[in-house]
Symmetry: D2
Subunit: 281 residues, 4 copies
């Protein structure tokens, strides 16, 4: 009974197939390959959908979850150093580090504090503050986000550092998760998610999704960057409204290579002294 059915119904369709899986559900090799392919295609569609979404943010006010460092001459002065194409690597690293430190301090100031009283060495009471939770961790998005690790370690004693590597598939323009290592029980931590720059926000959103998948509550996450494009902020705020977004500058555009404009160039390449490439992560 199977054979005629095959001849009548299945065989004729084989000419139109991209791939044929003999032996059905037992053939794990083929099924695995197909699952990966479907996964990739779904991400691709999601990305195109998002682009449409992005255009719809035009002329909307910036979301309340955005916390922009006050644009003082000093912050603009640091941006001037690191945005200038002629800045030497030595100076680029030096002033980036300084700006990163200010961004991290600003992000930390958003966590809640409680009143406490301590006794000074002179035996007098001092009414102070203590951070509500000492369980704070940093998670860097490779490679550029790693440049922010030193600052958070200099500011939070013994802080744990997770890492996420997301790479953009060159065919699809879609971010994919390549590497992940997080502190145990990250769900109990306040998390500062770090990336040096945010363009469309695709990588940051995938990283946020990973954190939520590990049961970190949205309201416990701060995304910290040196520079963000407006559409990236809109996209992230729309998808994760309780995540606080911290940046030291907002730029208006993203170009066709997914660089922020006016921007800073490829932050990772300038910081580490590696080869400029077409890769836009």
């Amino acid at each position: 009974m199977v054979k005629p059915s095959y001849a009548n119904y299945i065989a004729p369709t084989m000419a139109h197939a991209d791939i044929i899986v003999p032996r059905g559900g037992e053939n794990k090799v083929a099924i695995h390959l197909i699952v990966q392919h479907v996964h990739t295609q779904l991400q691709l569609r999601g990305f195109k959908l998002r682009e449409t979404l992005v255009n719809s943010y035009k002329d909307q006010p910036m979301p309340d979850s955005l916390h922009l460092l006050p644009p003082t001459p000093q912050i603009k002065g640091l941006h001037t150093f690191i945005r200038c194409r002629g800045t030497s690597r030595d100076e680029f690293i030096f002033y980036s580090k300084r700006l990163i430190r200010l961004v991290i301090e600003y992000a930390l100031s958003l966590f809640p504090f409680k009143t406490t009283t301590v006794e000074t060495p002179q035996g007098v009471l001092y009414e102070g503050k203590r951070m509500g939770s000492r369980k704070i961790c940093g998670v860097s998005i490779l490679r550029a986000g790693e440049t922010m690790e030193q600052a958070i370690c200099d500011v939070c004693k013994d802080i744990r550092i997770g890492k996420i590597l997301i790479q953009t598939n060159r065919n699809t323009g879609e971010p994919e998760l390549y590497y992940l290592r997080l502190p145990k029980d990250i769900k109990d931590y306040k998390v500062i998610l770090m990336d040096a720059t945010v363009a469309t926000g695709a990588a940051a959103m995938m990283a946020l999704r990973v954190l939520l998948d590990h049961d970190v509550p949205e309201e416990n996450i701060i995304l910290a960057s040196l520079l963000m494009a407006e559409i990236g902020v809109h996209s992230i705020a729309y998808a994760f409204p309780k995540v606080r977004i911290v940046t030291s500058a907002l730029d208006p555009e993203v170009n066709e290579k997914f660089y922020v404009i006016p921007g800073i160039g490829n932050f990772g390449d300038r910081y580490f002294g590696t080869e400029p490439s077409d890769d836009y992560l």
Copy 2:
């Protein structure tokens, strides 16, 4: 003529196939999937072959390309801190950094120097030395090798830093390249390749292979680690005899989970405070 041939020769074999590619050479989707699969299988074979190789090193003298830091009480003292399971993360990081710095200095001392004469502020000549090449770069193997970046930046002014991520396929036990970013024209550089620990040497060998593929001469590469297993050193030295190998300690064994024994635990997890996992890279 095609049809009968198909019925006679091809159709009967389809029952035994893992996968069938309709439309032949035009079907790029399927071909790409198959290429990846073949690639993976080849790596798997290579790994098993290597294991056989490793056993053959037993009782052989260590290779000349190995440069072990003199095992002073001080170096052993630092190992004692970081190997002890009870050491706090704070101390683990502190003493790791100190040991890393010594390893990096030792590695740098292996590069050639030339005699030069300079004039001191008192107007007197001083006959000194200068490194033959100032083109030196560091390449870290993620994640544990990144802990060595700060030391090399503290020691070589404005040094460029490349990164390689190699992950072990859990199915095959075979290392795969996931991420790569190198300085431009790396072929003109002396390269210090950094990984905190080396067990079988599989990841280090893949990283070395990547460097050679970028035309870096073997003799311009130093592989620097805090701790290596003897079989890792033998494997690397056999495959890349001109690469110099620097480490601050040699351990005799690798266990079935590919940890060095007595070892140091998972260096990356202890340093960054992340979750212990079964992953053995």
Copy 3:
């Protein structure tokens, strides 16, 4: 003619002299000794006068030249760590460094900036800011002010660092200059004068006097501290109205040992781990 004059007018007064300088203006040994003595006495008088002055500041508003860091929970949180008598040295140093960095950044933000335009790596113009003068130097008041040197070096590339040691004469309670080394042509620099704490302001005022004696204009000086007593601020602002005063906290009192209350203890002793002493500098 000289001799009778001597007998009539000079010899009789010699009985009332504290010291007699034979050979007049040629006798450099004696003149130098007298100059030093007069100098010391003048300082002594100045100090007593100043104390009277201090009482007169009570209930006056704080001067305009005072720039207090915004008293955010974060700043109070750092003060809570370092003011608490039970804080370990390790944590004391860690959080002091963090607070110092914020104070230095705040101080630098007070210098004037000019608008400038640079081109980013994407070839787009960015309208930024540049500090009006790149000639900035730091001058630390030993010992506690030296703890602020690292922060200013981390923030201003290749900054020059001067040092002043002023010790309090235990007999007179008056500050005296013991050591001085300044950058050449300091008159052309903006100067950040650093001391960890300011109680009565006596040491800071002597240091400011030294800077003015080296032709640094008052308006080019910022005095930066972690903690100041109100009377210290009043005294300094009264004596040097154009010097800007930056601190991260103001305390109401100074005790009889010249410690700020509630205070922070002896900052230098806690930071360097040295013996508590009666010395109140």
Copy 4:
């Protein structure tokens, strides 16, 4: 009877006096001044005596208490950078820090270690070493010795830091103690005494004398420097034979301004960017 005696015996000699003290023993002002002057003159003589002593060391072998870092091309390479008069301040600081770190590590390696056994994270025993005493402190000789503090703090966790300021009296060429702050119970510590350069050794010897006066046993002290003149080493070793002396280079001469030759210039002025002066400390 007094008056004629005065006229006959005292008045005639007054013409030859440098200073005259009316009212004899009651005149404390004048007596104090004279005591200071005599004190200075005595030091001056002592110094001249020492110079004679120094000449007697010529052609003698270097003492056993001297521990010279192995003069590798790398160490010579670092000296080449910092000795060259044309080296920029940025590079001078960078390479000085690197050399200082090596000197400090070398000094620490001279302290005794004990064998100990720890358990690694894999549950295997490791036979290691631990420093016999964890009570180690650093004492820097101001100003140039302070440049070595960061390195010792990076290498010894929570180390206590004492400071000594010795200035050379310009009239006498003799060192005088101006400032001192040491860890409590310093007699129970191993002490690393730090100065960047040692010429005649006068300042270092005064600092060593201060440590002995605080009951630190000679054999618990290591004097660490970047550069020493041979006569300085001889003098120190002669006066304090149990103090171990560590340096990264030995120079043959000291010039009439007490600079080491070929030397490094004024280390403090080059490091901190201050004004070159005639002062030779």
